[in-house]
């Protein structure tokens, strides 16, 4: 089945004091393997909520979410955590590395939660760091790395468990333009190697790198366009 992700009628509501916020009002979306998707929309459109739901960080109020053939919308917390660990790789705008741990330990974390034994863990984490070009920075802590290097560590961490999908939330938001270009090149390479990528962004030139653009508005899909394939 080439449908990696299928959501239908995905709804997320939550209480804010006395009011109910309707973050998503029934989103239907299908994502295929190796697609490179950009998710856009103004703030409040629900794109972060959609990302959280796709990333299994949150559960929908209603609707279905099929990930890799498994229905995850009604999963209990612990199983959801397992899915997160195995299938999802997150890359955040603010990097979200553990500040007091070395790059190696940061990249090891998903493997630790997957139950991989110590020696194998360190080997795989080292390989992941080498693949993003940081093999010589394994013992450095995040505050000893530049912004671009930190994001690379985050990417290595996201990939170390060989996830089905890479979710990036404004990954270049905290980087200068030349570093941003570097990081975007990394994503291009990853897509070329077969990775499925979903990226939230509000910048047009970032979204231009993706082959498909989904725009949300007021909790619903507003537009869904695929760039025509180059011949």
């Amino acid at each position: 089945m080439s449908d990696l992700i299928r959501v239908s009628g995905l709804t997320r509501e939550y209480e804010m004091g006395a009011e109910t916020v309707y973050a998503l009002r029934g989103v239907d979306l299908t994502i295929r393997r190796n697609e490179y998707l950009a998710v856009m929309g103004p703030s409040g459109s629900g794109k972060s909520t959609l990302m959280n739901l796709i990333g299994c960080l949150d559960s929908p109020t209603a609707g279905e979410y099929w990930l890799n053939g498994t229905e995850v919308s009604a999963m209990p917390d612990d199983e959801l955590a397992r899915v997160r660990n195995r299938e999802i790789g997150f890359v955040f705008q603010t990097f979200n590395l553990l500040p007091r741990a070395s790059s190696l330990h940061n990249v090891e974390l998903p493997l630790i939660y997957a139950g991989v034994p110590g020696k194998e863990r360190r080997v795989r984490a080292a390989e992941a760091l080498q693949r993003v070009g940081l093999g010589d920075r394994m013992k450095h802590k995040p505050n000893e790395l530049s912004g671009g290097q930190r994001q690379r560590v985050a990417i290595a961490r996201a990939l170390v468990n060989d996830p089905s999908i890479l979710l990036a939330d404004e990954p270049t938001g905290n980087l200068d333009s030349s570093t941003s270009a570097e990081i975007m090149n990394v994503f291009d390479e990853l897509q070329a190697m077969g990775q499925t990528i979903v990226m939230v962004t509000h910048e047009a030139d970032i979204s231009a790198r993706a082959s498909r653009k989904v725009t949300l508005l007021d909790g619903l899909v507003h537009s869904d366009t695929t760039r025509a394939e180059a011949a």
Binding site: N52, L57, A81, R84, N96, L98, R100, Y113
Partner: protein, 405 residues
């Protein structure tokens, strides 16, 4: 992972283990000292004052525990003294195998060749006294039954007195003077050591019927008759017989109380036993309070840590940490903290006990059970105190936690 986190937050960790550390230190140190005191009291003290299977007959009790009222004192001082005839009668009346010894003492001055030793315990005894006191003669000999019977002016002295008067000279055969009357030294007793810092070796014993009798007591009167039997059962029998004889000699009617005292060192041991019990009850109480405080401190520190590390928890959850992973992480951290605190407490407690042992007369015997209990308590407090913060951490919503701060 837990040790790594604790190391990087040294200050906070140090602060949070204080309660557990103090509690465990106290536990170890006080238990060691109390156990040491226990063995000191039973082995040294009681045995030195009055040994096993031994009782003494006196005018009034030697071992007084608790408060004695003025009326009691007055009644005691009005009593008749124990006479030579009383002592002989009691000795004759005891049917079980026994050794008996008279004891009459006073404090005085001993002179030899221009040297003067003050504050010496001068005691008039009969020859059985040596066995009853378990004295080993290091030089010479004790006095014989004949010397005792005929009241020869011979004397056996304590080790410290011998050193003071004779230094390197051999004391045997020389004459010392008590109240200007000469006595020939026939023996020196092995050092007995100290009791609560008071030397036990500053004494001189002479036969009760020798000229010493005028110095130690009014005529024909002793301070005590000591009787030692072979077994505890025989001791009971002997005490009952002694009491019966004395009651008859004093013509006491059945309703009247004894106007003399027949006692063993048991009263003293009972008294210590009651103190011991109080200590052993109070101690766990104090330790518990300290540990509870320690637990509360750890809980608060961990709650702060959880709040500070909310984002970190969110990140970990986003990477796939389940609730129980987060729970275990924080529980292990708080338990490790507590065990480290307990460990340092054990070391400090042992050190403290060692210091007390080295600088005072109190012996401190480390009880292994206290070490085990200390560490287990530490771990228990750590896990217990960390449970609430850890479960708070585990239940954080990952979406909000990541956005925190």
């Amino acid at each position: 992972m837990a040790l790594r986190v604790i190391w990087t937050q040294k200050m906070k960790s140090a602060f949070s283990v204080v309660g557990v550390f103090i509690g465990v230190t106290f536990l170890i140190a006080v238990v060691s000292i109390v156990e040491g005191m226990n063995s000191y009291m039973t082995d040294r003290f009681a045995n030195t004052l009055l040994g096993v299977n031994t009782f003494q007959l006196r005018r009034y009790p030697d071992f007084q525990v608790g408060d004695i009222s003025r009326e009691t004192w007055r009644e005691w001082r009005r009593r008749q003294r124990i006479t030579y005839d009383d002592a002989r009668a009691v000795d004759a009346a005891i049917t079980v195998p026994h050794i008996s010894g008279w004891e009459s003492w006073n404090r005085g001055i001993i002179e030899y060749g221009g040297k003067v030793a003050r504050d010496i315990n001068i005691i008039g005894i009969t020859e059985g006294y040596f066995d009853i006191k378990n004295w080993t003669i290091e030089q010479g000999r004790p006095f014989s039954a004949q010397e005792a019977r005929t009241g020869q002016p011979v004397v056996v002295i304590g080790h410290e007195l011998a050193e003071r008067l004779f230094e390197d000279l051999d004391p045997i055969g020389r004459e010392i003077k008590i109240r200007r009357i000469p006595y020939r030294v026939v023996g020196v007793v092995e050092p007995q050591g100290k009791l609560f810092t008071i030397s036990l070796d500053k004494f001189a014993v002479a036969p009760a019927l020798s000229p010493i009798k005028r110095f130690v007591n009014p005529p024909r009167v002793v301070d005590a008759l000591l009787v030692k039997t072979n077994t505890v059962e025989d001791l009971q029998t002997a005490m009952a017989e002694a009491e019966a004889v004395m009651r008859s000699r004093r013509a006491l009617r059945p309703a009247q109380e004894n106007n003399f005292s027949v006692e063993t060192s048991e009263a003293l041991l009972d008294f210590w036993g009651s103190i011991n019990r109080v200590l052993m009850v109070a101690l766990p109480g104090l330790v518990s309070i300290s540990l509870v405080v320690g637990g509360i401190v750890i809980m608060n520190i961990m709650l702060m840590a959880v709040a500070e590390r909310t984002r970190e928890i969110g990140i970990r959850k986003s990477l796939g940490a389940r609730r129980r992973d987060i729970l275990r992480q924080f529980l292990v951290e708080s338990a490790t903290l507590a065990v480290v605190g307990a460990g340092i407490g054990v070391a400090t407690g042992l050190l403290l006990a060692g210091v007390v042992q080295a600088t005072t007369f109190l012996p401190a015997r480390v009880a292994p059970w206290s070490v085990v209990v200390g560490v287990l308590l530490g771990a228990g407090v750590g896990i217990g105190a960390g449970l609430y913060p850890a479960s708070r951490a585990a239940r954080l919503d990952p979406v909000e936690a990541i956005r925190h701060e």
